[in-house]
């Protein structure tokens, strides 16, 4: 069956379903005019690939993605008044944030995948999440490519490293980048979602096209490992 045909199927045994191996929800108090880093031990034998959302509402009736947030900011140098990011290292999941507004309670949700270079034995977590594993009314994205690539250091101008997929349409894609520092502190091999700066002016983009995806490397950044998940689905 062609790729085009596989995309029409509820499932295809050639392409794995996503498996969420970590879930975390919680809240914390965020002081006004402050920055924060919250850490949560994940207990996994690898560094997970994190994503998720945050909110100022306990029911997530208003919901932001990490690397975005509340606007506008009264600070002329900032677009967002309050913004949060998520990343992980070998021990913890971190929620980091900047708040230029008043004190508030922050609610967060994190879900994470296992990197392709791991084959760990894991405890099941289906009881922590949505119990309906398969529902024929919904589409299940089919994981087409799942891996990592070692990016070179940035040169004098922006550069790109490409991963061919040849699907023919722009696929769903997710990416993460490994940094060794955060906000000037050493944090070896921490994995951040793409485009979230590590606070040290290193923010690598992921770009998707109908034949390949790419990691965009800003000038002069250090070499990093990048992880990607590319799906058949658009």
């Amino acid at each position: 069956m062609s790729i085009a045909g596989a995309k029409q199927m509820l499932m295809d045994s050639r392409y794995p379903f996503d498996k969420v191996v970590y879930l975390k929800s919680g809240s914390f108090s965020m002081p006004g005019s402050s920055t924060i880093i919250q850490s949560y031990p994940h207990g996994l034998p690898f560094t997970p690939l994190c994503s998720g959302n945050w909110s100022t509402a306990s029911d997530f009736s208003i919901q932001y993605e990490y690397s975005s947030g509340i606007y506008p900011s009264s600070n002329p140098g900032l677009v967002f008044d309050t913004i949060f990011n998520v990343f992980a290292d070998s021990n913890n999941v971190y929620i980091t944030g900047d708040n230029n507004g008043s004190a508030m309670t922050i609610y967060f949700r994190v879900y994470a995948f296992e990197p392709s270079n791991s084959n760990a034995l894991l405890d099941p977590i289906a009881s922590q999440g949505d119990r309906f594993v398969i529902d024929s009314r919904l589409n299940y994205p089919k994981l087409y490519l799942n891996g990592y690539i070692d990016l070179p250091a940035g040169g004098a101008s922006e550069s790109y490293v490409y991963i061919d997929h040849d699907i023919g349409t722009v696929p769903q894609a997710m990416g993460w980048v490994t940094y060794d520092t955060w906000n000037g502190s050493t944090m070896v091999s921490a994995i951040h979602p793409v485009a979230t700066s590590n606070g040290d002016s290193e923010g690598i983009l992921m770009i998707a096209g109908n034949a390949r995806v790419a990691f965009g490397i800003p000038p002069f950044v250090l070499p990093h490992r990048a992880y990607y998940r590319i799906y058949l689905d658009e």
């Binding site: 498996k19 975005s68 949700r109 879900y111 977590i125 594993v133 990416g175 983009l205 658009e234």
Partner: protein, 137 residues
């Protein structure tokens, strides 16, 4: 315990369930006057997904050679302040502004102490988002 990376499907781990895909374009007129310290906004609200739905999205700009970026994106554009070139930040991102509402958003921030005239030429920001059922209990 088992090794989920060895399985095509594994009912012991939540999976990602795609509800539907949504798209929209925000057109940004060129040479727009933005008062000092203000943020100009463009926005599309769609009734889409449900409370807590997560987004797997992509964003592109007609002024960028890149096809799509797969995350919130910050662009640098150059307008003028008092006739002199003035770089400024434009951000495009996706969020949920209400329980049933998916929002595509563009922000143009004037961080200067005087009126900013935004970059010349119309720019279209294209959004696409797949909405997923949240994997949490």
């Amino acid at each position: 315990m088992n090794r989920p990376n060895q399985f095509i499907i594994n009912s012991q781990f939540p999976t990602q369930k795609n509800e539907d895909g949504y798209s929209g374009n925000i057109i940004i007129p060129g040479s727009t006057s933005i008062p000092a310290g203000a943020t100009a906004t463009g926005r599309i609200d769609l009734i889409a997904g449900s409370i807590g739905s997560i987004s797997r999205g992509r964003i592109s700009s007609t002024k960028s050679t890149n096809p799509y970026v797969t995350q919130a994106i910050s662009y640098t554009r150059t307008g003028t302040v008092s006739g002199s070139p003035a770089p400024y930040t434009m951000v495009a991102f996706i969020w949920r502004s209400a329980p049933d509402t998916l929002t595509f958003q563009v922000l143009l921030k004037n961080g200067y102490g005087s009126t900013l005239i935004s970059e010349a030429g119309t720019e279209t920001i294209q959004f696409y988002s797949s909405q997923f059922v949240a994997p949490y209990a």
